[in-house]
Amino acid sequence: MPEGKLCNKQPVTTKEQLDALLADTRGRVYYEEMKSLEVDKEKLRNSLKASLKSRTKTWLEMCAHCGLCADSCFLYTVNGRDPKQVPAYKIQSTLGEIVKRNGDVDNEFMLMAMETAWSKCTCCNRCGMYCPYGIDMGIMFGYLRGLLFSQGFVPWELKIGSGMHRIFHAQMDVTTEDWVETCEWMAEENGEEWPGLEIPVDKEDADIMYTCNAREPKHYPEDLAEAAILFHLAGENWTVPAEGWEQTSLTMFAGDWEGCKQQVLNVYSAIERLRPKRVIGTECGHAHRGTVVEGPYWAGRPDGQPPAPYIHYVEWIAEALRTGKIKVDPAKRIKEPVTLQDSCNYVRNHGLAMVTREIMSYMVEPGYFIEMTPNKEHNYCCGGGGGFNGVGMYRAQRNVALRKKRDQILATGCKLVIAPCHNCWDAIRDLEEEYKIGIRWSFLKPLLIKMAIVPDHLKPKEDEE
């Protein structure tokens, strides 16, 4: 069974394998090897037998082929209504065929299925809301990704991402030392402006344990500082774990289910170790989906709940504003037309639509908040979800996908877009870069810090003099 040195059916579990993949610029060798990667049909058949149950089987068999899902899919509408972008067609021609042929598919088929699974679906789950039978093709694409991953047909960046999680328990090579140092550095760096600012590591029995996205310590440490400042302002008793702080799951995008489980168990064991009253995750959509919504199932928790109450950052902000833990200076509220991006992963898939709107009611001068159309659960994917942002090979397709969000934003007339999700934030930044429509975009944290009223006892001493 020919397998490549870089492209093969084994997940990346050692630093050497990871470095070899990283050294292969843009995955040139990796994708070349993939062209001759054989399909292990026996393994594929066994996977189907073990994991394809009545729900998914029925979805595939019973689809009435009515085409009602077509218009629900932004990739269909932005690609000139190409019939090959109809969700039902995309899933029937890939997973549907694998099931029909009971795994008897070849390399060429798998290459096509890979392209479909990662460049023609962002797993936004919008189609599931528009199908009369409730057939959720996003879920099926997630399942298909799992089958493809187990056969080695996965985009290079996501093979790396999965390897990062398996080796570093983080989507990037951030070690425990790096993380703890970044926490100390950020607390110190901002200590002058915010006397008494702390980022307590591994504090037991705190009220809050905070988890984040590895790119925060790696590339945007100020995000971590902002989280600390807001907890400080609100007077929260909080901590971060030294191990188990990374909330994201590129393994989920990659279809690496075993890796998903390892990642989420790492976070859950931190919860069990530190016994916080509750856990709060950063402004990230897929991290929340991975760790709070889907994670309990990967970890084998029959009640589908994490070990402690685990909320999204927007829920905490809404609560802090509602209870007055953080007060907004009315004079500093946003006084320009502003719109809000609904992240699929916690709005459509976790019911938090009204939470972000409650936040807007505190942060935006009445009359200036403008909804996109459609919005809330019916909102469209940013264009870069499900790993789409990160796959170089599909960059051209991703850029086309951004047009839906571009047009939605343009229709609001707003120049400021609030995007409380890393993936959406990236996609909106990229769409500005690509289409230059003159917009700014932001997470909630920096905006809120700018408008929050700082109580006197938290101000730097020189202010008092």
Partner: protein
């Protein structure tokens, strides 16, 4: 002939129809898997039930969901067909009489005039559903011979029954054709994707539970279908 196909054969047909559908339901429910489906079905029965009921209800109501509202033409022909397809076979006076004669069951019925109109609407809607299949590229690409077979299977009992009732031809021929195509349809339902007569409720309930339990229902947000 008439005695046989409305007597013993009908028994066999009903047995296959009901038995087949019962098997479908049991197979589906038994195949649900909390971990693979990633829905804690039994941990939150009340949230699940609420989600399931909402998910079924709004989709049963014409224009009850956003998906129905943004496609008014399709919604009209969809319900145009389904209302007749459900009500007429179940509550036609002729069927009630037959049930009484053969099985001694007293069965309610709807006025004949209403039944005629519903049947006509169902036939016209089915033709339009077929035309939609041909004319829209996004529907054509997912259409196969199987979909056409099902349209024919579903349409025949209505066309033959309508012709018989209207006395447009040899009544004996059309009524026999109607009974046989009707029985063929009943037998086909559990063995083709027409099992959606129960499957619709199962899959809608499942997704409703998914949203009710896991994806937002427990956050106090009902899925706005």
């Amino acid at each position: 002939m008439y005695e046989f196909i409305t007597g013993p054969l009908l028994w066999v047909v009903f047995a296959a129809f009901l038995g087949g559908l019962a098997y479908r339901v049991v197979w589906y429910v038994k195949g649900l898997h909390w971990q693979l489906d990633r829905v804690a079905y039994s941990a939150f029965p009340a949230d699940g039930a609420k989600g399931a009921v909402r998910s079924i209800f709004f989709w049963l109501v014409p224009f009850g969901t956003r998906s129905w509202r943004i496609k008014p033409g399709f919604t009209a022909i969809f319900f145009g067909f389904h209302i007749g397809a459900v009500l007429v076979p179940l509550f036609l006076t002729g069927h009630a009489v037959l049930l009484h004669e053969r099985f001694g069951i007293n069965w309610p019925s709807i006025p004949q005039g209403l039944a005629d109109w519903l049947t006509a609407a169902a036939i016209v809607s089915l033709v339009l559903i077929g035309l939609r299949r041909i004319s829209l590229p996004e529907v054509r690409i997912v259409t196969s011979w199987y979909d056409w077979l099902l349209i024919v299977l579903a349409g025949l009992p209505f066309v033959t029954g309508f012709v018989a009732v209207m006395h447009w031809g040899d009544y004996q021929f059309w009524i026999i054709a109607h009974i046989l195509t009707g029985e063929l349809l009943l037998v086909s339902i559990p063995f083709t994707k027409l099992y959606h007569v129960v499957g619709f409720f199962l899959t809608r309930a499942q997704l409703g539970m998914d949203f009710g339990i896991k994806r937002g229902g427990r956050k106090g947000r009902n899925m706005p279908w």
